[in-house]
Assembly symmetry: C2
Homo-oligomer: 207 residues x 2
């Protein structure tokens, strides 16, 4: 009986795909977004550029998927049996759940594999409105929507006031961390994100 | 009696200085930080490049001062008789004072004269650690310290809890606005910054 060709071919494709992701992330970190080309990614990955064009229409698309893949890898150790990746914990203690997720984000932001290409793309997104919009829509906003869901669940249980807009509320702890990382306006740590969550939940004014 | 040469010379210098600032801001907005050169600024300003080198050691220094000057111009209409520029209002109502300053920041962020060069420099600061540090230290942090002083004054009056760290607390309303502007993660408006202040002061949890 003849072997089916599919599994080998799939493994080969998977290897190429991974090599292309790695090459794309490495290149954008080294030379920046503007100087990263499909040709450069292909040469570094050891594939023909037609291989890349077969799967992705542009370098922005390659990089977007490379980032999605990197984020999935980063979240793998935290994924438990039967749990969806990126599932936001809901233990019934909002503060603890927010701190858990924000501490994991601190780990990711301080990981050089993630940091170098992320900075290059974030910088490009600031001046290149089209690229910025793609990354916000496909990469950042979906993860922010997990905070929205968790805050809504907290509203249902009376842990968060009903008149609060969750999409704005999440920015009280997510944006300070993002700005310290992006603009290096201060150190980031577990203690720092814990403090942000405490301030946001309980407010600056005396109770 | 011979005229003193100083006033004319000072006016000439002031005109050159202004032309150089305008040229530097226009260029960095058009071609980005990396491609902005002292030669390019000099040509656009109609001065010799030695004129620029006489006053500033590098393009980063020219741009830094051009920005300081732009911020001062922007704040001029709000400056009242006998009041220092950039003075933070202290009417005794912390929420109202924070909203007043943040609304003025919204106006500035939406002003194209400010927005285009700011984006170019912010993007460069994300990847260029040295430049980022200069702009944070000399431009951003001094304005954040005005929030720190205002929050300390509110702590003295019992409007803000004593255990709060003002340098972290200010990020609850400043950073969300910065991130929406920098990464275009959402619209910015007076209503938006008012909401941030209300959430930060009173907290997300029921009182």
């Amino acid at each position: 009986m003849a072997k089916k060709p599919a599994p080998n071919s799939t493994r080969r494709s998977e290897r190429s795909r991974r090599a292309i992701y790695d090459a794309a992330l490495a290149l954008v970190g080294e030379v920046g977004y503007a100087k990263t080309t499909i040709e450069g990614i292909a040469a570094r990955a050891g594939v023909g550029k037609q291989t890349i064009y077969r799967w992705w229409p542009s370098k922005a698309d390659v990089l977007l998927e490379a980032f999605l893949d990197l984020s999935e890898q980063a979240s793998e150790p935290a994924v438990k049996e039967g749990q969806e990746p990126f599932e936001f914990p809901d233990t019934g203690d909002l503060g603890a759940d927010l701190k858990f997720v924000l501490r994991a984000t601190v780990d990711e932001l301080l990981d050089p594999r993630f940091e170098v290409p992320s900075r290059a793309l974030a910088a490009e997104g600031v001046v290149n409105e089209q690229l910025g919009a793609v990354f916000v829509t496909k990469l950042l906003e979906p993860s922010l929507q997990l905070y929205v869901q968790r805050l809504r669940s907290a509203q249902d249980k009376g842990e968060v006031r009903h008149e609060i807009d969750p999409r704005i509320a999440l920015e009280l702890f997510v944006s300070p961390l993002a700005q310290r990382w992006l603009q290096r306006t201060g150190p980031i740590s577990y203690e720092y994100v814990d403090t942000l969550v405490d301030y946001a939940l309980h407010g600056l004014a005396p109770r």
